[in-house]
Symmetry: C2
Amino acid sequence: MIFPKTRLNLSGDRFTVIYRLTGSDETEAQTKAEGICLEQTVEVPLHLLANDTIRADVVGRIESFTTLADNHFEAAISYALETLGSELTQLLNVVFGNSSMQPCIRVERINFSDALLQQFQGPRFGRAGIRKVLGVNKRPLLCTALKPMGLSAEALAGLAYQFAFGGIDIIKDDHGLANQSFAPFQERMQRCAAAVNEGSQKSGYRSIYVPNITGPANQIIDRAFEAKQAGAGGVMLAPGLTGLDVLRQLAEDDSFALPIFSHPAWQGSLVSHPRQGLSHRVVFGQLPRLAGADATIYVNYGGRFSFSRQACRGIVEETGTAMGQLKPIFPTPGGGMTLAKLPEMIEFYGHDVILLIAGGLYGHGPDLGKSCREFRQFLEQAGTGVVQ
Amino acid sequence: MIFPKTRLNLSGDRFTVIYRLTGSDETEAQTKAEGICLEQTVEVPLHLLANDTIRADVVGRIESFTTLADNHFEAAISYALETLGSELTQLLNVVFGNSSMQPCIRVERINFSDALLQQFQGPRFGRAGIRKVLGVNKRPLLCTALKPMGLSAEALAGLAYQFAFGGIDIIKDDHGLANQSFAPFQERMQRCAAAVNEGSQKSGYRSIYVPNITGPANQIIDRAFEAKQAGAGGVMLAPGLTGLDVLRQLAEDDSFALPIFSHPAWQGSLVSHPRQGLSHRVVFGQLPRLAGADATIYVNYGGRFSFSRQACRGIVEETGTAMGQLKPIFPTPGGGMTLAKLPEMIEFYGHDVILLIAGGLYGHGPDLGKSCREFRQFLEQAGTGVVQ
């Protein structure tokens, strides 16, 4: 044999990935599933392997294979926990590294094992933690975004003050605010943090400022700590732009310990093909929660974006379902929300949601403070059961 | 106005993104293009903006709009250089942050401006630099991968020695080798680096070992330097797993200064939808080159993967075309290559290519050293013009 016979002392613990396969018949799909077992692990043809632990346990294992409909199949493939070496980057790699480049394979869900989940700390705050920070027990939370790109740090801080004074719970940077000359990160972040805290003190509402710390790999952590020092109440990070693992690094850091908001920028392409890529529930539900995001921002159904009701439902499920010791996190839909749509949103999402309303708030009327109070009042009534 | 009128002193320099749009008619597609101009920059409706620099210059600008065929359109949209704040993460964001979540938009190409390219150092070695390291002037280069996952570091080093002794130019880790207990990164990397250097000395061929440094965000740079110290000749990184910017960080680091190989894992989903996502040329050509990869690994056409000849051609074009001061880099196709396919590969790719042959080498025959020599001999003959 080319490869020496290898004996490994593995734990026996395995996690499972549910793949949706498309093929002209069951035999073709079955062959594809067998291909995934190799592709995602040893990446050599089976006949080259010795009759050893690698062949028996390192190669992926088809746990079940189901015909869903004509040409549509589902394979549950399990992998040994040890293939991951406790690394999130390697988890992504084993789930869909090379198979992402093969036709007609879609990752529908990851069934984590408890042993795998114990290797992750997950969200530090989660839903309950963010509610505690904001002092809001029950109602949906309200989030807005500072924009547009091009305003000065001072002008953005002016908006931030109005939002805080108007009672918006979470005031975040738009994800387009990076470190541009017109509103450099440090100045913007310091001014906005101060403005939110001032507006909040004056109004009596508790609000937090959440700056966007997405940026160069060697500056993200620094920006996070600068934000904390300036009095920000959380940070936002777009893992599609930065990589997911830096979110985990930050979430696990006891000396940081602020809520983390995950932003979906760039990741739409991962979910846009109905028969390839990954499901919305994996990309915007399971993965950010595993990494330790306390809230996962995504685009709402029915607006200008392409996510369906069903896709949004899948994300929401993964934010709240049992997941070992990992806390439930907030689904944070945004895009095209107006006051008129709030009843439908509350009906669909219930109370455990952060509603991200930016354009709908800016466009609601000429008096931003008045608009804020209207939105907040609506949610407070919803929270006491007046609306629902 | 909600937003204060803003005067910005912009350079006037703009870069352009070519978007392919699908729509039921030209009016719909035109509206979509106008939507992108806002979505990717200010993210508020146009009527909310004052009559100022933000509206005039920060909002994206449609430079041209073309009907390609029934229902297919192309819009060239330019953005002010200043929207990027000189950050690669923000470049990705402006190109396709939120629009990736909208239907029927595909990024076909980025037309960088010279001023933008001057903000990036790009590849340190490029094609000429890697050729110099290996002492090979003309012929296609030969690369293979150490696998399978599950072998011990010692066994992998044994393979590495045989490859180096057999004259393989570049001996890299399989991307599935991370930091697993059966072959921990440090031990594997040190053993393999030593084995390659030993095999290389004995054979007289110059070979380099390229370990996979993909891993936790806070360990990637350390792994790179450990590899350098151990005598590795380059490193491999999968930006889909780690984020692209850490590759840039490493490429720009004068104290590192080794060739960097970009691996495509996870990124297949970005390119799989023909009318959404991004083109292969952007993801596997333009972006890794901009970030500073010296070689871009991707999956070859005609094998078990889904990339077409045309997609591969697009990638190759972007590795070599004029791109400001940025050096040309090596296209590095892999997947399903055998000795029998080499003539076709050389015809398609020419000599400026690294051919990644792993399964085809392991499966070529029972004597790995003999297989290596056959492949190498073939390429040497090709390099002297005997074959072509």
